[in-house]
Subunit: 553 residues, 2 copies
Amino acid sequence: MTRILALFLAVSLTVAPASAVWPLPQSFQTGSSALRLSPRFDIQLSVNHASQDLRDAVSRTKFHLKNDKLGRLVVGRGSSDEQAVASAPTLALLTLSLTGPGSESIATEAQKLLGERDEAYALSIPSDGSTATITANSTLGLYRGLTTFEQLWYHYNGHTYTIQAPIEVEDFPAYPYRGLMLDTARNYFPVDDIKRTLDAMSMVKINTFHWHVVDSQSFPLQIPGFENISAAGAYASSSVYSAANVRDIVSYAGARGIDVIMEIDTPGHTSVISKAYPEHIACPESTPWATYANEPPAGQLRFVQPETAEFAANLLGAAAALTSSAYFNTGGDELNTACYEQDEPTTAILNQTGLTLYDALDNFTATTHKRLIDSGKTPIVWEEMVLNYNVTSLSNETLVLVWISSNNVAAVAQKGYKLIHAASDYFYLDCGAGAWVGDFPQGNSWCDPFKSWQKSYTFDPVSGLTETEKTLVQGGQHLLWTEQSGPENLDSIVWPRAASSAELFWSGPGGNVSAALPRLHNVAYRMRTRGVKAISLQPEWCAIRPGVCDLTA
Amino acid sequence: MTRILALFLAVSLTVAPASAVWPLPQSFQTGSSALRLSPRFDIQLSVNHASQDLRDAVSRTKFHLKNDKLGRLVVGRGSSDEQAVASAPTLALLTLSLTGPGSESIATEAQKLLGERDEAYALSIPSDGSTATITANSTLGLYRGLTTFEQLWYHYNGHTYTIQAPIEVEDFPAYPYRGLMLDTARNYFPVDDIKRTLDAMSMVKINTFHWHVVDSQSFPLQIPGFENISAAGAYASSSVYSAANVRDIVSYAGARGIDVIMEIDTPGHTSVISKAYPEHIACPESTPWATYANEPPAGQLRFVQPETAEFAANLLGAAAALTSSAYFNTGGDELNTACYEQDEPTTAILNQTGLTLYDALDNFTATTHKRLIDSGKTPIVWEEMVLNYNVTSLSNETLVLVWISSNNVAAVAQKGYKLIHAASDYFYLDCGAGAWVGDFPQGNSWCDPFKSWQKSYTFDPVSGLTETEKTLVQGGQHLLWTEQSGPENLDSIVWPRAASSAELFWSGPGGNVSAALPRLHNVAYRMRTRGVKAISLQPEWCAIRPGVCDLTA
């Protein structure tokens, strides 16, 4: 079935979508028969030497099928289904089988290069109670199928059931990259908050955790050989991610089909490094901060110094060694030139060598990126590196994050770089909550207004691009910068909003917000059953009456 | 000390406010000596026949002094205080004494008419370790003093201490009404969420819980004699407030110096009553909803029917009997005339009697308000009742909530009514999160943008009023309408933002946001120690460096 047909089906279901799968599969055929899970329901792996993470995923699915206990989002919450369900056939078995040769772990598959992962799967649930199947070429595909399977079932009065059997799904992502960025430097988030976020991400098939782990305000990452930075620059000795924590997070994410791409933002956003290595930082905490940085505190790597480039390469290399991803993000945004103009060591070298600041940045980037590429990592950078700083030493494989404005997408594509949508005008979760800098009573967020789920959901990822340029779009992500966030509002500011880009980049663009809303309510309600505090998008009166609270209803 | 002096002190402390009391006391004199609480620290009541709620409050204060364990919000979180604290005198005793005659309970005092409460107190803490004192004319005043006392102490390495002894406070509220409104009808909130909110309110001396308990979407209140409405109109049988729940909430609030003012919004906002009493509701769930109501579902009391007025009087009377407040809110906002124009029973009566719709509304209001006044309650209404519907039957004592716009304050005052600030352009906590009605991709909140704490903090409560009109201002409140809120984001959407109006209406207007911010960080951090998920207003780097992240720092 094509995407157009899938959308048609979704629209036709607006009155009461019995199967509220998110993201919407590429092909999704449903019937109208009741089917319930047998009390003996089991999931069997027809996979040779199944990986431990696949076996664990099966156990989690069985747990969720027992414990979600989500009532259908209709008036009565499923009471009208009771009679049909009581006499329905029961499903006793789901089998998972691989159509491909090997059986790598989910994590191994999820950590490959973007073009080399296989997330496709097929799911079949007969209506007569005979065995349901998920087939895929990879364990990662089987895992994606399991997350779809989990969303098909509702609970009422002791029964776990669907009223849409038979169900046939053929599914694969429109884009290989579907991410979520979390900044753990402006404010710190305990490991358990990150794991809960990974759980929620996996429910909507987000496959990338972009971990903006450190920044000018704090350095919570313990990097082997550089522990003195976190010792001096974390908010507290308890507010750190040890190497063991990072491995734990990478493993937890991998088992959920999520690649952890760490970012150590350089050469800007590095003020805190001055607490351990003052010789490498220009304008540390200089004031007025607004002259030397986009936000306090000022401080950037003194990148024109060869010894600072070597230091940065060592730091990035050691950080990159903590992760299993094929990618590493070196940042490159918001470089402040005033900081360097008043930095004596910087100006001395520039005068001596005749290099411009951007020549030197090119050299610095060549040094740090070479270290990463030599250790098998593909670099990721923010858009300024290619649009503003004219860094020519970037590898052609470099991924570019477009953040300042979606208007800049075409310019990045015209330079031939693969790109990831992360534009502030669509995907920034922190916009619209007033000014966070002090003494600014009438101030707004710099990226006002609030980016609603509807706004990001209706984004067009290929607007203004040629056919060739369209092939450069790898996907996109929501982002949470945490000047005004912490563990207290992590779930509520992210969920279910970030699910909108998850569907946009899995199912493809063109989705209709009215058809999507009832399914997105299901995302929020199901997340809550699993301890993720996704917020209400509407009064419950509306949530259980699909379409009735539409503007024109 | 005058307010001007108090502000000067606060400004002078911006670098590191050791005592971060919120709301700022009317007079607040501090020294610079260290003083720590003795391990034997105790609080003694020099009060004859002290009420149980006062004795409980003392126990809670002792608990918080032991368990808050809040580090001072400076770099090092108090490590620089360690030496001074180690050799400091210890405080072993705080005594509470009443200067007035009787000893009513805190709840009794808090539930009096606004002008009859006494919340003033004096607090004295000598620097030499000799006995500290709180004196007041009422138990309510003593309780306010306890909540101030709790905010003076920080924790470092086993010591609970201040570095600002001696401390002398003389304090009383600028306005008698300082409230918070919660809508429990769009989405339901369990009793524990309400209690946690009451705890947080008491920390900042908010004295009124405006409980918008029911609305068109759901009716979670079990009213004796009208249980069929909640049985048919609550979201679930578990999503109800029983009479016992209400008594529990009223008692819990009263013990914390908070009056619970319940609102049963009439005659609009009553659609759900049609599920139990269809004969009393016009245009129930009529479509298109936008023709018949400001939000779905449509449905309003058929107030021109005398039997409906009698029904409403009985309903309001029975609900009012559940609370202990001297006030009851009968609503009166957003009446939709199209609903009545197509309602056959309404038009028949109007034609027969020759009354206009607003004549009939006046009669209805006279009937319902008489029932409340006869049972000792003073009515509260929304602004349309006096500005748009020309209801002449209102008692002169009626309090009017200005919500549509702060521009309407003067018009209400000109009519001579006592008023409460609740304007959407300053105090609505739900603005700025995108459209909640469906199928409206580019829609914003109707009251965009987000109302930051700075915005409400800098509100002028007497702008444009004559000296006489100024005396009508009773205070004000933040409000949370819950179309896009539920238990998941209650704390994060309310706190610490709602503390800004708490200080505005206790300390009086004119506060400076730069001086306030470090103290407001303290509010948020201390709330978190008590399980209230108040959000971060800035990166922690800023929170522990007062003033350094100001726009011009």
